[in-house]
């Protein structure tokens, strides 16, 4: 629910992230410039550039002044420069972002819809063999880490059967356009999407199923039955609509983790999203990228939570703004 208190929470979270971003490199032993820009950087930077950066970020000054300089740079929208990619951090991240959004966005949508539907069906038939089988099946599926699922899918369908490509989001240097390009994207998207969706299916399923069980006992379900409504209407319009509320709320929170959510899967499929970028930056010790991603994650998470808070009353009329 939206409240001033929540804003405070978000503010604290954001501040923590900023603090971490700021303090970590500066607490490292050794040359602060190296800590901030990474090894690679030092090799390519000229002494003049180094001096300029030291000046700009007040690296030889006490911490307080460094903090000031840090904030100034931040508000100017400057996230730093990556020497590994040879481009401003912001543009590097933005270049990788769409793929992550595509992958995670569609997987979230799919797993939520599927999870809710399966949860409704399962909850409706609670105790039956179908329900028990689905429950056992999905709980087991839940135990498989997403990177393992990804690897299994990759090996099964990519390597062995050769149906799907093994890496990347597009076939490189293909020069495709229009429908062919779209199909190419989809072919590359399929396996990572499947892995991610399957891995997260159980969460929505369990929550919906549990809520469904409670909802079915409510008086308005008897009223609905008395109205002579069909099974389908009872299941979805009445029970389902009430059961999906918790999942939708949860989805909002999951949305915040969009950037990090696909980290492992992107890695397995070499899918060029922000997760993969983070991994590569990690290997290359490209600190500016990592910090930039971190900041971006923070903003995404907080924004998503905020949006969910605002829209929840529309879904559940019983909730009103409480100050």
């Amino acid at each position: 629910m939206f409240s001033k208190g929540n804003l405070v929470t978000y503010a604290i979270a954001f501040l923590f992230i900023l603090a971490l971003n700021f303090l970590l490199p500066r607490m490292m032993p050794g040359d602060p410039l190296m800590a901030i820009y990474g090894d690679e950087a030092l090799i390519t930077m000229t002494p003049e550039l180094k001096a300029e950066l030291v000046e700009r970020f007040a690296l030889d000054q006490p911490l307080w002044q460094q903090l000031g300089a840090y904030f100034v740079a931040l508000f100017q929208g400057e996230l730093g420069y990556s020497y590994y990619y040879n481009a401003p951090v912001l543009s590097v991240i933005l270049g990788h972002l769409p793929w992550t959004l595509l992958l995670v966005g569609s997987s979230l949508l799919l797993s939520t819809i599927l999870g809710i539907t399966l949860g409704i069906e399962s909850g409706w038939r609670r105790g039956s063999r179908t329900d028990r089988a689905m429950l056992a099946g999905l709980m087991s599926l839940n135990g498989f880490p997403d990177f393992f699922l990804g690897m299994l899918l990759l090996i099964a369908f990519g390597v062995t059967l050769g149906i799907f490509p093994l890496a990347g989001a597009l076939t490189p240097y293909s020069g495709l356009s229009g429908l062919a390009w779209l199909l190419d994207v989809l072919r590359h998207l399929f396996l990572p999407l499947a892995a991610l969706t399957l891995a997260h299916l159980a969460g929505g399923y369990l929550l919906t199923r549990n809520t469904m069980i409670t909802v079915l006992k409510e008086p308005y379900m008897l009223t609905a039955r008395a109205k002579g409504l069909s099974q389908r209407v009872l299941k979805y319009r009445h029970a389902g609509r009430n059961s999906m509320l918790p999942v939708v709320t949860r989805s909002g929170i999951w949305m915040g983790r969009v950037i990090t959510g696909a980290l492992f899967v992107e890695l397995v499929f070499a899918y060029p999203g922000v997760g993969y970028l983070t991994y590569e930056a990690l290997l290359a010790r490209d600190y500016p990228i990592i910090q930039g991603v971190f900041l971006m994650v923070a903003i995404f998470v907080l924004a998503a939570n905020f949006l969910i808070d605002l829209s929840y009353p529309k879904l559940d009329p019983r909730v009103s703004y409480a100050y």
Partner: protein
């Protein structure tokens, strides 16, 4: 709450299964030196061998015996899992219960901190920190605990709040008991079942995290980890080696997580009695 946790788990089919799996894994971890014919770190030139009588699961790319590494890997997963689970639960309980019993500004501040941390995704923080410091196993346990106790704190606080209003707590207060005494003698014992469920899920989260971080290449290289094994196997996915290198490792990892899930699920009616009799069993 006179609900017998042991009985809940024993009566549930999947609960029993989960428990068996866990016990099996613990046994393997403890008996690893006995079960493993080779030193898991010893490299050799016999690399990428298929399974044979001398190497039950073959060898990896640097000639290490896969089965031995698998057995020792169990130690890592369980150590980190239970370590983080314990520490995080302790911290969560301490903060949650104290917030509930002390109230006032302390409670407000603690809960704000808790909420703030819950919002931030754990993994990116760990990645950031790991970029600068290569965490050893103990550091990792510490770090993961620090980042994951908050969820439990929320639940513990809610429980403690409701317990606080119970008769026997009020009675003890009327004897002049101080808050520490109340917490220790009256509140915490009743938290037992919920603590356990929180713990179980905490262990599960930690096992997953450890494997994931090792997969990324972040964790302690001196330690055998299933995640790292899977990471190494990934580069050789075009060969047949995945069958005995990747799959058993992934399955072992999944089994632990599934086992923990099942046990946790069986124990859930403790917190939400309405769900009883409605699970798989």
């Amino acid at each position: 709450m006179h609900i017998d946790l042991k009985r809940e788990i024993k009566e549930s089919g999947p609960g029993k299964t989960g428990l068996i799996i866990l016990l099996l894994m613990i046994a393997v971890a403890l008996l690893a030196p006995v079960l493993a014919p080779y030193d898991p770190y010893q490299q050799s030139t016999a690399s990428l061998l298929s399974p044979s009588w001398s190497h039950w699961l073959g060898t990896n790319h640097v000639g290490q015996d896969v089965w031995s590494r698998l057995a020792f890997g169990a130690r890592t997963s369980l150590l980190v899992g239970f370590g983080v689970g314990t520490l995080a639960t302790l911290l969560g309980t301490a903060f949650g219960v104290s917030a509930a019993l002390v109230g006032g500004l302390y409670e407000k501040v603690v809960m704000r901190m808790v909420d703030a941390f819950i919002v931030i995704p754990m993994i990116i923080v760990v990645i950031l920190i790991s970029a600068y410091i290569r965490p050893g196993i103990l550091t990792l346990i510490f770090l993961l605990s620090l980042l994951s106790w908050q969820g439990g704190a929320r639940i513990m606080r809610a429980q403690a709040l409701s317990l606080k209003e119970r008769g026997h707590v009020a009675a003890a207060r009327s004897f002049g008991a101080n808050r520490l005494y109340l917490a220790w003698r009256h509140v915490v014992p009743d938290l037992g079942p919920i603590l356990l469920v929180e713990f179980i899920y905490g262990v599960r989260r930690a096992v997953f995290m450890e494997a994931g971080l090792a997969f990324l290449g972040i964790s302690d290289p001196t330690v055998v980890s299933w995640g790292m094994m899977m990471r190494d196997a990934l580069s050789f996915s075009y060969l047949d080696v995945w069958q005995w290198w990747l799959v058993p490792t992934g399955v072992a990892l999944s089994l632990i997580i599934i086992g923990l899930t099942f046990v946790g699920h069986a124990a859930e009616p403790v917190i939400e009695p309405r769900l009883r009799g409605v699970g798989i069993a």
